[in-house]
Protein backbone atom coordinates (compact mmCIF):
# COMPACT_ATOMS: atom_id res chain seq x y z
CA UNK A 1 0.00 0.00 0.00
CA UNK A 2 2.58 2.59 1.13
CA UNK A 3 5.04 1.59 -1.56
CA UNK A 4 2.44 1.97 -4.28
CA UNK A 5 1.35 5.41 -3.10
CA UNK A 6 4.95 6.57 -2.97
CA UNK A 7 5.70 5.14 -6.43
CA UNK A 8 2.67 6.97 -7.86
CA UNK A 9 3.80 10.27 -6.32
CA UNK A 10 7.39 9.84 -7.45
CA UNK A 11 6.38 8.98 -11.01
CA UNK A 12 4.32 12.17 -11.03
CA UNK A 13 7.55 13.95 -10.07
CA UNK A 14 9.31 12.09 -12.90
CA UNK A 15 6.81 13.47 -15.46
CA UNK A 16 7.62 16.96 -14.17
CA UNK A 17 11.38 16.43 -14.34
CA UNK A 18 11.24 14.95 -17.84
CA UNK A 19 9.30 18.01 -18.99
CA UNK A 20 11.87 20.38 -17.57
CA UNK A 21 14.76 18.60 -19.32
CA UNK A 22 16.33 20.56 -22.17
CA UNK A 23 14.35 20.38 -25.38
CA UNK A 24 15.51 18.45 -28.40
CA UNK A 25 14.87 20.24 -31.69
CA UNK A 26 13.49 18.11 -34.50
CA UNK A 27 14.58 18.68 -38.07
CA UNK A 28 11.28 20.53 -38.66
CA UNK A 29 12.18 22.97 -35.90
CA UNK A 30 9.48 21.76 -33.54
CA UNK A 31 10.83 21.35 -30.03
CA UNK A 32 10.04 18.07 -28.32
CA UNK A 33 10.42 17.35 -24.64
CA UNK A 34 10.36 14.03 -22.87
CA UNK A 35 7.21 14.92 -20.94
CA UNK A 36 4.86 12.83 -23.07
CA UNK A 37 7.28 9.93 -22.65
CA UNK A 38 6.85 10.39 -18.90
CA UNK A 39 3.12 9.91 -19.42
CA UNK A 40 3.70 6.75 -21.47
CA UNK A 41 6.12 5.40 -18.85
CA UNK A 42 3.58 5.94 -16.06
CA UNK A 43 1.22 3.64 -17.93
CA UNK A 44 3.68 0.98 -19.07
CA UNK A 45 5.54 0.78 -15.73
CA UNK A 46 2.84 1.49 -13.12
CA UNK A 47 -0.07 -0.08 -14.99
CA UNK A 48 -3.42 1.41 -15.95
CA UNK A 49 -4.85 2.41 -12.58
CA UNK A 50 -1.74 3.69 -10.83
CA UNK A 51 -0.32 5.25 -13.98
CA UNK A 52 -3.52 7.25 -14.39
CA UNK A 53 -3.36 8.34 -10.73
CA UNK A 54 0.23 9.57 -11.17
CA UNK A 55 -0.76 11.59 -14.24
CA UNK A 56 -3.84 13.02 -12.49
CA UNK A 57 -1.68 14.07 -9.56
CA UNK A 58 0.75 15.80 -11.91
CA UNK A 59 -1.98 17.61 -13.87
CA UNK A 60 -3.95 18.70 -10.80
CA UNK A 61 -0.91 20.27 -9.17
CA UNK A 62 0.19 21.89 -12.41
CA UNK A 63 -3.26 23.43 -12.80
CA UNK A 64 -3.01 24.66 -9.22
CA UNK A 65 0.00 26.72 -10.20
CA UNK A 66 3.18 24.64 -10.18
CA UNK A 67 5.01 25.59 -13.40
CA UNK A 68 5.86 22.00 -14.32
CA UNK A 69 4.33 21.52 -17.75
CA UNK A 70 6.98 21.48 -20.49
CA UNK A 71 8.24 24.99 -21.17
CA UNK A 72 7.59 25.99 -17.55
CA UNK A 73 3.87 26.37 -18.03
CA UNK A 74 1.40 25.99 -15.18
CA UNK A 75 -1.65 27.49 -13.58
CA UNK A 76 -5.24 27.47 -14.73
CA UNK A 77 -4.17 29.05 -18.01
CA UNK A 78 -3.10 25.65 -19.33
CA UNK A 79 -6.79 24.82 -19.76
CA UNK A 80 -7.17 27.78 -22.08
CA UNK A 81 -4.03 27.07 -24.11
CA UNK A 82 -4.00 25.11 -27.38
CA UNK A 83 -2.50 22.14 -25.50
CA UNK A 84 -5.64 21.70 -23.39
CA UNK A 85 -6.80 18.59 -25.26
CA UNK A 86 -3.45 16.90 -24.81
CA UNK A 87 -3.43 17.75 -21.09
CA UNK A 88 -6.94 16.36 -20.65
CA UNK A 89 -5.93 13.30 -22.71
CA UNK A 90 -2.80 12.54 -20.64
CA UNK A 91 -4.57 10.42 -17.98
CA UNK A 92 -6.48 8.56 -20.68
CA UNK A 93 -3.22 7.92 -22.55
CA UNK A 94 -1.55 6.49 -19.45
CA UNK A 95 -4.60 4.33 -18.74
CA UNK A 96 -4.67 2.77 -22.20
CA UNK A 97 -0.87 2.33 -22.29
CA UNK A 98 -1.02 0.56 -18.93
CA UNK A 99 -4.01 -1.56 -19.85
CA UNK A 100 -2.36 -2.87 -23.02
CA UNK A 101 0.95 -3.57 -21.25
CA UNK A 102 -0.85 -5.55 -18.54
CA UNK A 103 -3.34 -7.41 -20.74
CA UNK A 104 -0.81 -8.60 -23.33
CA UNK A 105 1.03 -10.79 -20.83
CA UNK A 106 1.72 -13.51 -23.40
CA UNK A 107 4.06 -11.31 -25.44
CA UNK A 108 7.39 -9.90 -24.33
CA UNK A 109 7.07 -6.70 -22.32
CA UNK A 110 8.94 -4.74 -25.00
CA UNK A 111 6.23 -5.39 -27.58
CA UNK A 112 3.27 -4.96 -25.25
CA UNK A 113 4.62 -1.66 -23.89
CA UNK A 114 5.50 -0.48 -27.40
CA UNK A 115 1.95 -1.17 -28.54
CA UNK A 116 0.61 0.44 -25.37
CA UNK A 117 2.74 3.54 -25.84
CA UNK A 118 1.72 3.91 -29.48
CA UNK A 119 -2.01 3.27 -29.03
CA UNK A 120 -2.33 5.05 -25.66
CA UNK A 121 0.36 7.69 -25.87
CA UNK A 122 -0.24 8.61 -29.51
CA UNK A 123 -3.64 7.54 -30.91
CA UNK A 124 -5.72 7.98 -27.77
CA UNK A 125 -3.83 11.16 -26.82
CA UNK A 126 -4.14 12.81 -30.22
CA UNK A 127 -7.95 12.55 -30.35
CA UNK A 128 -8.68 15.00 -27.49
CA UNK A 129 -5.50 16.88 -28.43
CA UNK A 130 -6.73 17.58 -31.95
CA UNK A 131 -10.24 18.47 -30.75
CA UNK A 132 -8.73 20.91 -28.22
CA UNK A 133 -6.52 22.57 -30.82
CA UNK A 134 -9.40 22.88 -33.25
CA UNK A 135 -11.56 24.63 -30.61
CA UNK A 136 -8.90 26.98 -29.21
CA UNK A 137 -7.22 27.79 -32.52
CA UNK A 138 -10.52 28.03 -34.40
CA UNK A 139 -9.48 25.45 -37.00
CA UNK A 140 -11.40 22.56 -38.48
CA UNK A 141 -10.58 19.05 -37.24
CA UNK A 142 -8.62 18.20 -40.38
CA UNK A 143 -6.61 21.43 -40.18
CA UNK A 144 -5.82 20.76 -36.51
CA UNK A 145 -4.77 17.22 -37.45
CA UNK A 146 -2.16 18.61 -39.84
CA UNK A 147 -0.70 20.72 -37.02
CA UNK A 148 -0.70 17.74 -34.64
CA UNK A 149 1.03 15.48 -37.17
CA UNK A 150 4.16 17.62 -36.84
CA UNK A 151 4.66 15.95 -33.45
CA UNK A 152 4.14 12.40 -34.72
CA UNK A 153 7.77 11.49 -35.62
CA UNK A 154 8.99 12.66 -32.22
CA UNK A 155 6.25 10.77 -30.44
CA UNK A 156 7.03 7.56 -32.32
CA UNK A 157 10.67 7.84 -31.20
CA UNK A 158 9.45 8.39 -27.64
CA UNK A 159 7.20 5.30 -27.83
CA UNK A 160 10.21 3.19 -28.89
CA UNK A 161 12.34 4.62 -26.10
CA UNK A 162 9.53 4.04 -23.62
CA UNK A 163 9.31 0.37 -24.60
CA UNK A 164 13.10 -0.04 -24.32
CA UNK A 165 13.15 1.62 -20.91
CA UNK A 166 10.22 -0.45 -19.64
CA UNK A 167 11.91 -3.65 -20.78
CA UNK A 168 15.19 -2.71 -19.06
CA UNK A 169 13.40 -1.79 -15.83
CA UNK A 170 11.48 -5.07 -15.94
CA UNK A 171 14.74 -6.99 -16.20
CA UNK A 172 16.34 -5.08 -13.32
CA UNK A 173 13.36 -4.63 -10.96
CA UNK A 174 10.49 -6.91 -11.95
CA UNK A 175 8.69 -6.30 -8.64
CA UNK A 176 8.58 -2.53 -9.16
CA UNK A 177 7.12 -2.76 -12.67
CA UNK A 178 3.57 -2.82 -11.32
CA UNK A 179 2.01 -3.29 -14.75
CA UNK A 180 3.36 -6.84 -14.83
CA UNK A 181 3.62 -7.83 -11.20
Amino acid sequence: MEKKIVLVSLFAALIAVLGLAPKVMLASGVPITAQSMGIMLCGTVLGAKRGTLAVLLFITLTALGLPLLSGGRGGLGIFASPSVGFIVGFPLAAYVAGLITTKLKMVKIFYSSLLGAIIGGIFVLYIPGIIGMSIILGKSISEATVIALIYLPGDLIKAFLCATLTQTLFKLRPADVLSRS
Binding site: L10, A21, L57, L66, L76, G138, L165
Partner: protein, 200 residues
Protein backbone atom coordinates in the same frame (compact mmCIF):
# COMPACT_ATOMS: atom_id res chain seq x y z
CA UNK B 1 9.78 27.81 -3.93
CA UNK B 2 8.11 25.72 -6.56
CA UNK B 3 5.04 27.84 -7.34
CA UNK B 4 3.82 30.40 -9.79
CA UNK B 5 3.47 33.64 -7.82
CA UNK B 6 3.71 37.34 -8.59
CA UNK B 7 7.04 38.85 -7.52
CA UNK B 8 5.18 41.39 -5.33
CA UNK B 9 2.24 41.24 -2.93
CA UNK B 10 -1.01 42.63 -4.30
CA UNK B 11 -4.46 43.35 -2.92
CA UNK B 12 -5.73 40.50 -5.13
CA UNK B 13 -4.32 38.04 -2.61
CA UNK B 14 -6.91 39.15 -0.05
CA UNK B 15 -9.85 38.07 -2.23
CA UNK B 16 -11.00 34.51 -1.31
CA UNK B 17 -9.71 31.89 -3.74
CA UNK B 18 -13.16 30.39 -4.29
CA UNK B 19 -14.51 33.76 -5.45
CA UNK B 20 -11.61 34.28 -7.86
CA UNK B 21 -12.13 30.80 -9.33
CA UNK B 22 -15.85 31.40 -9.88
CA UNK B 23 -15.14 34.78 -11.50
CA UNK B 24 -12.51 33.23 -13.73
CA UNK B 25 -14.82 30.42 -14.85
CA UNK B 26 -17.59 32.92 -15.64
CA UNK B 27 -15.26 35.25 -17.54
CA UNK B 28 -13.68 32.41 -19.52
CA UNK B 29 -17.03 31.00 -20.59
CA UNK B 30 -18.29 34.49 -21.48
CA UNK B 31 -15.26 35.30 -23.63
CA UNK B 32 -16.10 32.47 -26.02
CA UNK B 33 -19.29 34.35 -26.97
CA UNK B 34 -17.39 37.51 -28.00
CA UNK B 35 -16.96 37.43 -31.76
CA UNK B 36 -16.08 41.05 -32.51
CA UNK B 37 -12.37 41.72 -32.84
CA UNK B 38 -12.52 45.29 -31.47
CA UNK B 39 -14.28 44.19 -28.26
CA UNK B 40 -11.82 41.31 -27.76
CA UNK B 41 -8.82 43.62 -28.25
CA UNK B 42 -10.38 46.16 -25.88
CA UNK B 43 -10.81 43.44 -23.21
CA UNK B 44 -7.22 42.30 -23.72
CA UNK B 45 -5.81 45.83 -23.51
CA UNK B 46 -7.87 46.49 -20.36
CA UNK B 47 -6.54 43.31 -18.74
CA UNK B 48 -2.96 44.14 -19.62
CA UNK B 49 -3.40 47.73 -18.41
CA UNK B 50 -4.80 46.30 -15.17
CA UNK B 51 -1.62 44.27 -14.71
CA UNK B 52 0.43 47.38 -15.43
CA UNK B 53 -1.43 49.19 -12.64
CA UNK B 54 -0.52 46.34 -10.27
CA UNK B 55 3.15 47.22 -10.72
CA UNK B 56 5.98 47.17 -13.23
CA UNK B 57 7.53 43.96 -11.79
CA UNK B 58 4.21 42.13 -12.06
CA UNK B 59 3.65 43.45 -15.57
CA UNK B 60 7.05 42.18 -16.73
CA UNK B 61 6.57 38.83 -14.98
CA UNK B 62 3.13 38.32 -16.53
CA UNK B 63 4.36 39.04 -20.05
CA UNK B 64 7.10 36.44 -19.51
CA UNK B 65 4.43 33.85 -18.69
CA UNK B 66 2.94 34.29 -22.17
CA UNK B 67 6.18 33.26 -23.90
CA UNK B 68 5.28 29.54 -24.22
CA UNK B 69 2.32 30.60 -26.39
CA UNK B 70 4.59 32.11 -29.07
CA UNK B 71 4.93 28.98 -31.25
CA UNK B 72 1.13 28.68 -31.40
CA UNK B 73 0.74 32.35 -32.24
CA UNK B 74 3.30 31.89 -35.02
CA UNK B 75 1.30 28.94 -36.42
CA UNK B 76 -1.94 30.98 -36.39
CA UNK B 77 -0.29 33.99 -38.04
CA UNK B 78 1.27 31.89 -40.81
CA UNK B 79 -1.99 29.99 -41.29
CA UNK B 80 -4.09 33.14 -41.66
CA UNK B 81 -1.53 34.92 -43.85
CA UNK B 82 -1.93 31.92 -46.13
CA UNK B 83 -5.73 31.76 -45.94
CA UNK B 84 -6.06 35.56 -46.12
CA UNK B 85 -8.49 35.81 -43.20
CA UNK B 86 -6.28 37.91 -40.91
CA UNK B 87 -9.16 39.40 -38.88
CA UNK B 88 -10.26 35.99 -37.65
CA UNK B 89 -6.65 35.10 -36.84
CA UNK B 90 -6.32 38.27 -34.75
CA UNK B 91 -9.54 37.37 -32.90
CA UNK B 92 -8.22 33.91 -32.02
CA UNK B 93 -4.86 35.25 -30.87
CA UNK B 94 -6.36 37.97 -28.68
CA UNK B 95 -8.85 35.50 -27.18
CA UNK B 96 -6.02 33.08 -26.38
CA UNK B 97 -3.90 35.81 -24.78
CA UNK B 98 -6.86 37.18 -22.82
CA UNK B 99 -7.97 33.87 -21.29
CA UNK B 100 -4.43 32.76 -20.43
CA UNK B 101 -3.65 36.18 -18.89
CA UNK B 102 -6.81 36.09 -16.74
CA UNK B 103 -6.03 32.57 -15.55
CA UNK B 104 -2.44 33.58 -14.77
CA UNK B 105 -3.66 36.53 -12.69
CA UNK B 106 -5.76 34.17 -10.54
CA UNK B 107 -2.99 31.59 -10.22
CA UNK B 108 -0.26 34.08 -9.39
CA UNK B 109 -2.30 35.90 -6.75
CA UNK B 110 -3.50 32.80 -4.91
CA UNK B 111 -1.52 30.70 -2.45
CA UNK B 112 -1.13 27.03 -3.44
CA UNK B 113 -2.29 26.14 0.08
CA UNK B 114 -5.56 28.06 -0.44
CA UNK B 115 -6.33 26.18 -3.64
CA UNK B 116 -5.38 22.84 -2.10
CA UNK B 117 -7.83 23.58 0.74
CA UNK B 118 -10.56 23.95 -1.87
CA UNK B 119 -9.51 20.67 -3.47
CA UNK B 120 -9.58 18.95 -0.09
CA UNK B 121 -13.13 20.21 0.42
CA UNK B 122 -14.12 18.95 -3.03
CA UNK B 123 -12.63 15.48 -2.49
CA UNK B 124 -13.87 15.06 1.10
CA UNK B 125 -17.16 13.35 0.04
CA UNK B 126 -14.99 10.62 -1.52
CA UNK B 127 -14.45 9.35 2.04
CA UNK B 128 -18.05 8.12 1.99
CA UNK B 129 -17.31 5.70 -0.85
CA UNK B 130 -14.29 4.34 1.03
CA UNK B 131 -11.54 6.28 -0.73
CA UNK B 132 -8.64 7.13 1.52
CA UNK B 133 -8.40 10.91 1.19
CA UNK B 134 -5.40 10.86 3.53
CA UNK B 135 -3.52 8.92 0.84
CA UNK B 136 -4.37 11.66 -1.67
CA UNK B 137 -3.12 14.46 0.60
CA UNK B 138 0.00 12.42 1.32
CA UNK B 139 0.79 11.87 -2.37
CA UNK B 140 0.43 15.61 -2.99
CA UNK B 141 2.98 16.28 -0.24
CA UNK B 142 5.41 13.64 -1.53
CA UNK B 143 5.10 14.99 -5.07
CA UNK B 144 5.83 18.59 -4.06
CA UNK B 145 8.70 17.56 -1.78
CA UNK B 146 10.36 15.16 -4.21
CA UNK B 147 10.13 16.98 -7.54
CA UNK B 148 13.14 19.23 -6.73
CA UNK B 149 15.03 16.18 -5.43
CA UNK B 150 14.41 14.15 -8.61
CA UNK B 151 15.41 17.20 -10.66
CA UNK B 152 18.66 17.54 -8.70
CA UNK B 153 19.38 13.82 -9.13
CA UNK B 154 18.84 14.13 -12.87
CA UNK B 155 21.41 16.95 -12.99
CA UNK B 156 23.95 14.84 -11.10
CA UNK B 157 23.42 11.89 -13.47
CA UNK B 158 23.79 14.21 -16.48
CA UNK B 159 27.05 15.55 -15.09
CA UNK B 160 28.37 12.06 -14.38
CA UNK B 161 27.50 10.93 -17.91
CA UNK B 162 29.18 14.00 -19.40
CA UNK B 163 32.35 13.45 -17.33
CA UNK B 164 32.68 9.81 -18.36
CA UNK B 165 31.72 9.96 -22.01
CA UNK B 166 32.37 13.56 -23.02
CA UNK B 167 29.00 13.50 -24.75
CA UNK B 168 25.74 15.24 -23.90
CA UNK B 169 23.40 12.77 -22.23
CA UNK B 170 19.82 12.35 -23.34
CA UNK B 171 17.78 9.20 -22.77
CA UNK B 172 20.70 7.20 -21.34
CA UNK B 173 20.23 8.58 -17.85
CA UNK B 174 16.52 7.81 -17.60
CA UNK B 175 16.98 4.18 -16.46
CA UNK B 176 19.33 5.10 -13.58
CA UNK B 177 17.01 7.99 -12.74
CA UNK B 178 13.97 5.69 -12.49
CA UNK B 179 15.99 3.10 -10.53
CA UNK B 180 16.90 5.78 -8.01
CA UNK B 181 13.23 6.76 -7.79
CA UNK B 182 12.34 3.13 -7.07
CA UNK B 183 14.98 3.06 -4.30
CA UNK B 184 13.53 6.25 -2.84
CA UNK B 185 10.07 4.71 -2.96
CA UNK B 186 11.37 1.77 -0.88
CA UNK B 187 12.84 4.04 1.76
CA UNK B 188 9.90 6.43 1.98
CA UNK B 189 7.40 3.55 2.08
CA UNK B 190 9.36 1.94 4.93
CA UNK B 191 9.34 5.22 6.86
CA UNK B 192 5.59 5.68 6.31
CA UNK B 193 4.88 2.11 7.39
CA UNK B 194 6.93 2.32 10.56
CA UNK B 195 5.12 5.50 11.55
CA UNK B 196 1.76 4.01 10.48
CA UNK B 197 1.01 7.30 8.73
CA UNK B 198 -1.72 5.84 6.57
CA UNK B 199 -3.78 4.10 9.24
CA UNK B 200 -7.15 5.82 9.50
Amino acid sequence: MLALRFPQHTWLEKIPASMKLVLLATATSGIFFVETLSIMVLLLVTTIAFQFLLGWQIFKFSLGLLKPLLPFIAIIVIWHLYSGDLGYGALIISRLLLIVTLANIVTCSTKTSEISEIIEKIISPMRLVNINTKAISLSVLIFIRFTPIVLERQKILQLAYKCRSGKRPSWQIIVPLILSIMDDADHVAQALKSRSTLRE
